[in-house]
Subunit: 387 residues, 2 copies
């Protein structure tokens, strides 16, 4: 186990009555709030009205930044920063899923940065010394952004999709009411589950030894995805499934599984390059790429761990590690198919000709991944095998 720091100060209010805590969380909010949300589903569900009524009741001034897209754009972030400057905003309230929260985080970091906010994503993450405080009301289970300091933003001009990570961006509070996800579509629900699953795998597969705690916890959360995923798809208002998936999602990426380990994140890196260019759903890319990545990195060196995964997560019985590992990969792929995910990049509109450019983008800052270090050539092979 490697040395680590672990600090997750986000106050979580979880459950059917979580929104009742919203008002008390506003007690420490002074000045103008920027209310950030997506395509208007929060207006259809009545959540918007509820929030605005509480802000009004408490005489809290607010401005709005709406229409945040999936794969949120740097242009939205810049617009948000300008609003914060113009209206002296002191608190960001993100209502939605990971895209909305990530956009809020980029605004929070960019507000105090003198240059253009995109710099922070281009390797200048260390320049983040201060950030506006953020609160979230989560409506989609997927990214874990509600409990971590990560943000992923797309630059639509350069077609790059890059991430920043700092504890300064962890939300002050997150309100997590599983019933708010009842109206999330089947496809979006499935996408969320794939995203969670991938977050866990990115931290699970590692050459760091002596991390049984993290590894067994990761397997525990994978087991919950496998159990509840199909239930949530079939019964969208099953509270047990929705609540377990939602809590799994937050825990999967708050640092618990990755602390003390060298984590991988190559698949995410490749997928970000794909969806920066093609604007496909992040999890669709992950569902296609993950099994291919697993096959590609399977070697004598990685086999034991892949076989452990197959045994502990999928109950694969084979004592031959090669057979077990391959069976684990097969089961993973099958699981994503059952969730309704495509299996090939060619199915989602990616042009074969663009694979070289995507491989180049993926390795913008050099090789990636740790379980197996991938060069531009490796990435291209993975993309080709996934086509």
């Amino acid at each position: 186990m490697l040395d680590f720091d672990y600090n997750v100060p986000t106050r979580i209010h979880f459950g059917r009555h979580a929104m009742e805590k919203f008002e008390s969380e506003l007690q420490t909010v002074h000045g103008t709030v920027l209310l950030i949300y997506g395509g208007g589903s929060i207006k259809r569900t009545g959540l918007y009205e509820k929030i605005v009524r509480i802000l009004d009741d408490k005489n809290i001034a607010y401005k709005e930044l709406k229409d945040i897209q999936p794969n949120p754009r740097i242009s939205s972030v810049r617009k948000g920063i300008a609003l914060c400057q113009d209206y002296d905003v002191s608190f960001l309230l993100a209502v939605g899923g990971g895209s909305v929260i990530d956009c809020a985080k980029a605004i929070a970091a960019g507000y105090y940065y003198e240059g253009d906010v995109w710099d922070l994503f281009m390797g200048k993450e260390q320049a983040i010394k201060k950030a506006l405080p953020i609160g979230t009301i989560l409506t989609i289970t997927a990214t874990g952004s509600e409990m971590n300091g990560n943000a992923v933003i797309t630059n639509e001009q350069t077609q790059d999709k890059l991430a920043i990570h700092t504890d300064l961006l962890r939300p002050r509070f997150s309100i997590i009411d599983p019933t708010l996800t009842y109206t999330v579509s089947k496809h979006q629900t499935a996408a969320g589950i794939v995203d969670i699953f991938s977050h866990i795998l990115e931290q699970y597969f590692s050459h760091t030894t002596g991390t049984m705690v993290q590894d067994r916890l990761a397997e525990a959360l994978l087991t919950c995805c496998i159990h509840y995923g199909p239930i949530a798809l079939e019964y969208p208002k099953d509270y047990e499934a929705r609540s377990n998936l939602m809590w799994t999602s937050s825990l999967a990426l708050n640092g618990l599984l990755g602390c003390g380990k060298q984590t991988d994140w190559a698949t995410h890196g490749i997928e970000h390059a794909v969806s920066a260019v093609y604007d496909i759903t992040h999890a669709v890319g992950l569902a296609i790429l993950t099994p291919v990545w697993m096959e590609y990195v399977l070697s004598d060196e990685t086999m034991t761990q892949m076989a452990t995964y197959a045994k502990n997560v999928w109950g694969v019985g084979s004592h031959d590690p090669n057979v077990a590992a391959r069976e684990g990969i097969k089961k993973t792929k099958q699981y994503f198919i059952e969730l309704g995910m495509p299996t090939r990049l060619s199915e989602v509109g990616v042009a074969y000709d663009s694979l070289k450019m995507i491989a180049k983008k993926t390795t913008l800052f050099g090789g990636l991944g740790h379980f197996k270090k991938l060069s531009e050539k490796d990435v291209l092979q993975i993309l080709e095998q996934a086509y």
Copy 2:
């Protein structure tokens, strides 16, 4: 799953080099520090000298409260509060195991309470509105106190041992260096493992349904105890075993396993009454009482969950839930025996005549437990069966 709030703001610095973070943690410490520790082992290991040198280098004034006992006493707490008042102490630095940290927490809470601090333990926990900040340097793996808001204190006059719990008492930071536990004796190491195991079981067995996340996480951590416990006993300087046990311990009682569930804590309640009177090691009492409690509460209503425990934690294969549940209890008992724990209260100096009085003490505030609600009569039967 029940609604819950979850907030663990403690900054954890974990690993061989964790002490290097101590200095930066002192940056926000202004005014006099109260350095709280136990029987002097920190002087033998050189840790005391290291801490004092850093405090001196940073010109931080400090007072000392030493000789904190296992099963820490309310008299030590009162002494600590007086020191804080006399010397205008603004920060508590607890260096040791759970007893030292719990003592610090009681001081932290009592300092701002106008009446006698014991009131807070006698049902007035709600009166804690403010607390002195605490930092910890952990030297024993057991209680999880380094990452939670719980404190257990013994009143030696009344022979009561009672607990308080509030998020206000969560340490600001905890330095967790597994190498500091290399010198912990075999018996104390074993006691710590039993304590962790018991903390997990107290939260695991519950009638709250739909908590797969919490349940699988609990099983994951139990698995780590089972795997690493015997290794730590045989090889006290095995970093892998020490680090995994130490992190398991912190996670076992920071709220992660109990959130969203009705937890039990009856065995702890009974044990606290035993060790309030007899000053036995807490975990020795737990090792004796836990399997007896499990047998006592086994019924048609609890059988399924006990069988799940047997299957998922101990790999028991029987499909008959009654057989499986009993096998799980047997394995638990056997595990504690292998760790060197006694199995009977009669072995540790408890007088048979005192069992009635202990049962009465246990139910001071009424019945206890939730997996099965225990009356004074139930507690007496458990004590008799454990004798």
